[in-house]
Symmetry: none
Subunit: 236 residues, 2 copies
DNA sequence: CAATTTCGCTACATTTTTGTGACAAAGGCC
DNA sequence: GGCCTTTGTCACAAAAATGTAGCGAAATTG
């Protein structure tokens, strides 16, 4: 699932630059240039991280930061501050308000992306690391490797993301639409039936053992609802 | 032996913050707030790395940097510059005077430590571990020598660093972006495809035995994700 | 059981991503 | 200065992945 980032910035060209690079790197970006709106979006859209410019309209960045920290829902939301002031005093004040990292303007897109990744890795390990195990399937996300009862499973990029999404929400049923949102991205337009094809490819890969034998299907089709990854298929 | 770091900084609270964090992370810290004294300490205490603030009393950081580079004993001493000016021009000037990396204020202690480690790893391989072994490859970091199942492997500088990075994180997949950051450095701007070319050069060198025979490829391409060094290639 | 919806599967054209050789610029060495 | 190594980039070839259409099977409905 693509991490979602709330970008609070009022310089249009910066918004453009940052969004472009973040999206290219696999993040979904929600934008606003208004402090009050940022607070609302942080509550409602549940982003995984907030990039916050120090100086924005309606509320200062630092105030937004404080309020985010006070609200229970967003108290632990990772925050990266964007600032033009490099002075030490600001750094301290910033830390006291609870930002998790800082990026000083001017910055390179790559640096920002790297910082965002670093903060997410530190605060949201589930998003970027570790192993996922379920239904005899084991996925090493950092090595990009998957095994099923020992035999290695080889997957294409999309199948990998699809399977990861299922492993992150074991047993749960997802509609094609939800899968498109989660695996393909919010603003990608593809046919819903495309999901079927990838489900088939995933099934094919996951249900085949190294020695060529067929394993029981772990993906359950829920007619007129979607698909789910199941631990134990019902005995017939 | 704990690496020794000379910290040249005149902001007392910063000295405190930095020293605390470096020592916590396994470094010994020598402090001074005076440029002239820094030169003396650099000669006499033989630190492994210098952290140098741009603006310090008695001599500017940039001048200290130049003089360190001129003295034979300290010509190759790794230097990390601390600066409040984030402008690109300053970065360039700093690099031209011979600093190996720079950190822009405000920075988080974690970031500084990470940079220090990165610079040491890049310039003082001996400090960060002796031999690395994985997947039949053996790297003597201090002698700068690599063997694959006995046969010697000859690598250019960049390929060496690339391989070392893989050996330090065996099995893990790195994106081109991550590799650029880790192997080339944070502030070097090269095309991402350049990584491909160096991967190819590395493959060529590592997969060729002394007698001219081809060995199995140890570098795994992970489509749309990056590359990894793998122990066990595909069983045919 | 017939009508209708939903799904599995295959084939295929397109797009994306990676491999590879060549080349010129930069830097080190003598 | 010449000579050699290393480096980054490009252009093109090769390979892999992707999205869609289409057809028939299976489930659902009534």
């Amino acid at each position: 699932m693509r991490p979602k980032i709330l970008l609070v910035e009022d310089d249009a060209s910066l918004v453009e630059l940052i969004s472009y690079n973040l999206e290219k790197e696999g993040f979904d970006v929600i934008r606003t240039d208004d402090g009050e709106e940022a607070l609302v979006l942080a509550q409602e859209d549940k982003p995984d991280l907030v990039i916050l410019d120090w100086m924005i309209a309606n509320l200062s960045g630092i105030e937004v930061c404080r309020r985010l920290r006070r609200a229970p829902l967003t108290a632990n939301l990772p925050i990266v501050m964007l600032t033009a002031r490099a002075e030490e005093a600001d750094r301290i004040r910033g830390l006291e308000t609870g930002a998790d990292d800082y990026v000083t303007k001017p910055f390179s897109p790559r640096e920002l992306v790297a910082r965002v990744r670093a903060v997410l890795r530190r605060l949201r390990p589930a998003l970027s690391g570790g192993n996922l195990d379920y239904a005899g399937i084991s996925m090493d996300t950092s090595a990009h490797k998957v095994t099923r009862d020992g035999s290695t499973v080889s997957l294409g990029p999309t199948e990998f993301r699809l399977l990861r999404h299922f492993l992150e929400h074991p047993g749960r049923v997802f509609s094609r639409e939800q899968l498109l949102d989660a695996v393909w991205g919010r603003d990608v337009y593809v046919e819903q039936r495309t999901v079927d094809v990838h489900i088939r490819r995933l099934r094919k890969a996951v249900n085949a053992a190294d020695n060529g034998t067929e394993l029981p299907d772990v993906i359950r089709t829920v007619r007129s609802a979607g698909y789910a990854l199941d631990a134990a298929p019902l005995p017939a």
